[in-house]
């Protein structure tokens, strides 16, 4: 039994079957990659997992609780964090404030009227924020405005914002999209380190096979909204069905 169990998900957009009978099981403390050609339904699946889309049928269970019909903030409070395709950060705020916000959200829940305390004097919050910035090597940039960071640093900051909450499941939507090779490798190292040090379960949606094969322990291949195979990386590489989905039948 995995920490995340997806069963029989269907989603139609008008005449298009975006997801057809998707089953997926992510085991605890593994890195699970979901790959597939353009339009395979990867992002739709992710949006279902975080509560942005409601599927037509099927169930999504996280640690025995249903995720469907919950607001994104409720799903986060259950222990699922999400990294977006383009880094979503608080661009007008400083790096330090960016990581403090998820700390407060973790401690205080979805809402608390703490209008009389001073942000700087909150016990534990600043220490947590500093520790996570140290972990992603951004402590020296703590007073910078987030919008002035490089793209790679924005990605690191977003990861730090997710990690500081110590989620049980981290969802990553193409974490290396549009990155240079060096940045991609840095991100891979960072993710590996996170997985080893903090034993956080990760589900990664990724185009870049280099990233997938350096990180994933299990791989699910989606094509036209349905899962083709779920296998270990070694078995995926030469799998005839995967070749077919990516390259087309004529190439076999």
């Amino acid at each position: 039994m995995g920490i995340l169990e997806v069963k029989g998900i269907n989603k139609r957009f008008g005449g298009l079957q975006a997801l057809g009978d998707v089953n997926l099981s992510v085991a605890e403390n593994t890195v699970h990659a979901i790959i597939g050609p353009n339009g395979a339904g990867k992002s739709t699946l992710l949006n279902v997992l975080v509560g942005k889309l409601i599927p037509d049928s099927g169930s999504v269970m996280f640690d025995g609780q249903s995720v469907l019909g919950r607001q994104p903030y409720e799903i986060n409070q259950m222990g699922i964090s999400r990294v977006f395709q383009t880094p979503e950060i608080f661009a007008d705020l400083t790096v330090f404030e960016n990581v403090m916000i998820p700390c407060f959200a973790k401690r205080d829940g979805a809402f608390r009227l703490h209008a009389w305390e001073n942000t700087r004097h909150e016990t534990g919050i600043a220490e947590q924020a500093e520790a996570i910035l140290e972990d992603v090597n951004m402590l020296d940039k703590r007073h910078m405005t987030a919008s002035s960071l490089s793209r790679g640093d924005k990605r690191r900051l977003e990861m730090a914002m997710c990690l500081v909450q110590e989620p049980r499941l981290l969802l990553l939507d193409e974490p290396t999209a549009g990155m240079a090779r060096a940045d991609t490798n840095n991100t891979i190292d960072l993710l590996k380190e996170i997985n080893e040090k903090r034993s956080i379960t990760m589900a990664i949606i990724e185009h870049d096979m280099h990233v997938v094969f350096s990180l994933a322990e299990r791989i699910t291949v989606l094509a036209q909204g349905t899962p083709l195979v779920e296998e270990t990386p070694e078995n995926i590489k030469g799998h005839p069905k995967v070749r077919e989905a990516y390259l087309g039948e004529a190439q076999v």
């Binding site: 950060i89 979805a110 809402f111």
Partner: protein, 401 residues
Amino acid sequence: MLGMNAKDTMLFVVVTLMVLLAPILLNPFPTDSAFSQFNAGYPALMQRFVIFGILVIGFNILFGLTGYLSFGHAAFLGVGSFAAVWMFKLLSYNIVPAIALSIIVAGLFSVVIGYVALRRSGIYFSILTLAFAQMMYAIAYSDLVGKMFNTIVTNGETGLQVYLDDPQILYSEGDPKLPHLFGWEMNDSFTWDVGGWSFVFQNGYYLAGICMLIAFYISIRIFRSPFGLMLRSIKSNQQRLNYVGVSTRPYMLTAFVISGMYAGLAGGLMSAMDPLTGAERMFWTASGEIVIMAILGGVGTLVGPILGAGAIKYMENIVSTINDNVVRGWFEFMPDGLADFMVTIIHPFIGKGWHLTLGLVFMGVVIFLPGGLVELGQRIGGLFRRKKSSDTPSGATKPAE
């Protein structure tokens, strides 16, 4: 001090001193001098400075922190004014129950309006608040509620005021017949004549000023609190905030209600200064004026709202009183023809044309100083600092914080 850091304490002390010494600071010209009409240190105008200061400080908690532009804030001001006058009519001229009720009633109205309007963001939120405010204006102006129950609630076009036959159940012999704080009359003042100057210290102004200082202090605390940080992050990226586990709606609604209560307090104080109110306080131009004050002063800054409110009320009351004869006085030294020419040029910008001056100033600020008057102050401060640091032999420059 009081839970504020050194910089904020400094700012608070400066603002406190300015409020306390305003009757002197705003009266720099002797009473008989030609410039005396530029003096702003008379009670009626100073009251407006601090009351509108409260209003815009509250508005800034909503607009400055969360970025949600409410275009109907004057409605809460109006509701507060009416609530206060009703307290004068029913209980007594004591301002304590009046102001308390005006804050509570404005808070209740803002819960309802905020709950509905906050279902949308951006321009739709602004339009919803505007629509609510205009509906409330229409209801107050024709006293629909009063007509429904065959009585008076807002008294329509005439406006609401206190009459001799009103119940005033808490009135006791010897109480003043005008708004007072346990016998301390709002209209009482003390005049200090020194040299050619005459400084007026009025009770009402000081009461409103102290209310503004409290309001300002609360706003500093909110700005520096985790709650304020959440509000700023709503402005920055609401989606991300949702995905880190924060429900944004209750935060928004709280901010909306707080700023509505600030407006209620301002409305209550207006009635306490002059126990007479009408629906025109809720008209949309009044809401627009609040937005202009906030932007002129500096959106999202602590002291900007006070500066913006002061600047606009000063222009409204001072520039509008300058007439052609005054301008002619300035150009006396010129030959007749040239003086006439100058008067003709300046004429559209003064007196009733003060809106034209305001429009030009506003355009200039928005284009060249997006941070408002606060940014102007920072730039001037920056110039001095640079000058000073280049004078020092080491030439070490400190980064401006």
